[in-house]
Amino acid sequence: MKLTEKRIMAICFGAVLMGVVFLHFYELTPRTIKIADINEGDYVKITGVIQGIKLVRDKYRHIKKIKYIKIRDDSGGDLRIYAFKNVNKDLTNYIKSTNPTIKEGDIVEVIGTVKVYNGLYEIVLDNISNFKLIEKKNFKRDIYLSPTPTNIYASKNGKTYHTSKNCPYGKKIKEDNRIYFYSEEDAKELGYKKCKWCEDESGN
């Protein structure tokens, strides 16, 4: 069969169409590697422990948005995971989907292309299916603030909580600056210390 110009064009046209269809169904398999071995541009699957989650919370401490998640594995390397726009919403919902929420210490798996920004390795999630909780290790309960007044309150700018309405120090806190806890344990978990006056009052 002689290869005329038209035949070559037909073969190329057919090859391109078949090739595009093939690529549509072909899935790239990410490489499973350790964080210390990654390079910029690698398409990888990494399993690591959450070292930190940078969150944006509302005034009652409910999670509004995830800024980034930092993970680390046993190779000693660490990596940041970012998500933007709709993927960020999906990630935030995913983090909140467990009880307690996904936190530091939990083991997760992430798939994506490694990028470098400001000298740090990061993966920008393009789909929530590329982020998965593998094992929940941190079962510390989630602490939220009460939207309605309770007996346990503090200033949002301080580190002392009060349990008495008559506390002369507590009375000074303006209503706009008050935060309310569900329990004293919550206040202590968040690093607040009981007011001495309220301590003595409750002792009496």
């Binding site: 064009m9 072909y26 790239l28 393009d126």
Partner: protein
């Protein structure tokens, strides 16, 4: 300039120019492929010297790149529009003139770019703010530019076919799949390198070359200026290559004069690279691979890089003048078909090696093969090669619309 010119920086600038000479002669090698390789020497020479080396290699590469485009007929995404007129000039015996015109455009394009940069600095225009307000319109501008290019094309049916096939291919590789490092090398080598090399396999010799500097007049600077503006506008249009900007410009200014066309080609490519690097000084961010590499070094950039760019431009143009003369003296004696055959093997080897080290060799080779088929279809149907840039335009439009 608040920093003196360091002699060591100059040495690395010249070293970069020498390396850029070799890389510019090799078809299928794009500056973005050079940058990861060049990073290997960074720990040994320091950041400031590396910046000068990078400037030298990239500017000279773009100058010298006109040689394989013109003499062998192997373009890249930057020279895709100019390759046929340049190559036709070579086949007629006037290759040197064609290359000199592109080099002239590039050299003066760099000078005008620097001049425009100082004007922008003086009037203190908020380029970043302008870009942010322009960003939502980018996908529609890209669609409009594609539409205009189809309207002006001679072979509308095949132009549309090539645009759609390239675009769908680009969506699959660059949007639907996670990005694989250096996949653009496989795409551009396949699309722009292989088809013309395969066409040249049938040729044995080309005409004897006449080595004369072209007659230039002052009016040619008008086209350098137009090309420089095109290079500046290109910064705001992601995915649009120099070839496409020049194609749109050539339709808008209705330019039929080959000399003016080639001069504006040279200006667009070099001015775009220079503007991209200078944007680092203006807004702290640049679009080209070189600008991103310099930004990632996290060093304080000083205005003395302008001097290094000017020196690099002068050296690059001088090397272009002498190397192209040397090439042309001997090109009519060599077996053209054999050179093209070895270049096909070389380009394929580069893609194979990059694919092997990316750990996705099969995927790389499939992408390379499809790119080559699109390129062959484009050449056989006599459609302008710049239409294949839809491979970048379609995924970019999709990305901006969906995000």
């Amino acid at each position: 300039m608040n920093q003196a010119i360091n002699p060591f920086n100059l040495i690395f600038l010249f070293l970069g120019c020498i390396c850029g000479t070799f890389t510019g002669l090799l078809p299928g090698i794009h500056p973005n492929t050079l940058i990861p390789i060049s990073l290997l020497i960074l720990p040994y020479i320091g950041s400031q010297n590396y910046v000068c080396f990078l400037i030298g290699i990239v500017i000279t590469h773009y100058f010298i790149n006109y040689i394989p485009s013109s003499f062998i007929g192997v373009p890249d995404d930057e020279t895709a529009v100019s390759v046929l007129p340049l190559h036709n000039l070579t086949l007629k015996g006037y290759g040197y003139e064609g290359v000199m015109l592109c080099g002239f455009g590039g050299f003066f394009g760099i000078i005008i770019s620097i001049f425009l940069f100082f004007i922008l600095l003086f009037i203190n225009i908020d380029i970043y703010g302008t870009y942010q307000s322009f960003k939502p319109f980018i996908p529609y501008v890209l669609i409009l530019l594609l539409f205009i290019s189809v309207i002006f094309s001679k072979n509308r049916f095949w132009s549309i076919v090539v645009i759609i096939l390239s675009g769908l291919f680009g969506i699959e590789v660059l949007y639907n799949h996670s990005s694989v490092s250096n996949i653009l090398t496989a795409i551009f080598t396949g699309m722009f390198g292989i088809p013309l090399l395969l066409e040249n396999l049938k040729k044995n010799k080309i005409n004897h070359q006449i080595i004369t500097f072209p007659n230039l007049n002052v009016s040619i600077l008008k086209y350098v200026f137009v090309g420089t503006i095109g290079g500046f506008i290109r910064i705001f249009l992601p995915a649009i290559g120099g070839a496409q900007i020049n194609f749109f410009l050539s339709k808008l200014i209705r330019e039929n004069n080959i000399k003016n066309f080639l001069v504006s080609q040279g200006a667009i490519t070099l001015s775009n690279e220079v503007f991209s690097i200078l944007a680092l000084l203006l807004i702290g961010y640049g679009r080209s691979g070189t600008a991103v590499a310099i930004k990632n070094l996290s060093i304080n950039l000083h205005f003395n890089i302008i001097v290094y760019m000017l020196i690099g431009a002068g050296v690059g143009y001088a090397i272009l003048c002498s190397v192209s003369k040397y090439f042309l003296r001997y090109i009519s004696y060599v077996n053209y078909g054999k050179i093209s055959f070895y270049l096909v093997l070389f380009c394929s080897a580069v893609v194979f090696i990059l694919g092997y080290f990316s750990n996705y060799l099969f995927y790389y080779l499939v992408v390379y093969a499809i790119s080559a088929c699109i390129g062959i279809l484009c050449v056989k149907s006599k459609v302008n090669m710049s239409y294949m840039m839809s491979v970048l335009v379609f995924p970019t439009v999709l990305y901006y619309i969906m995000h």
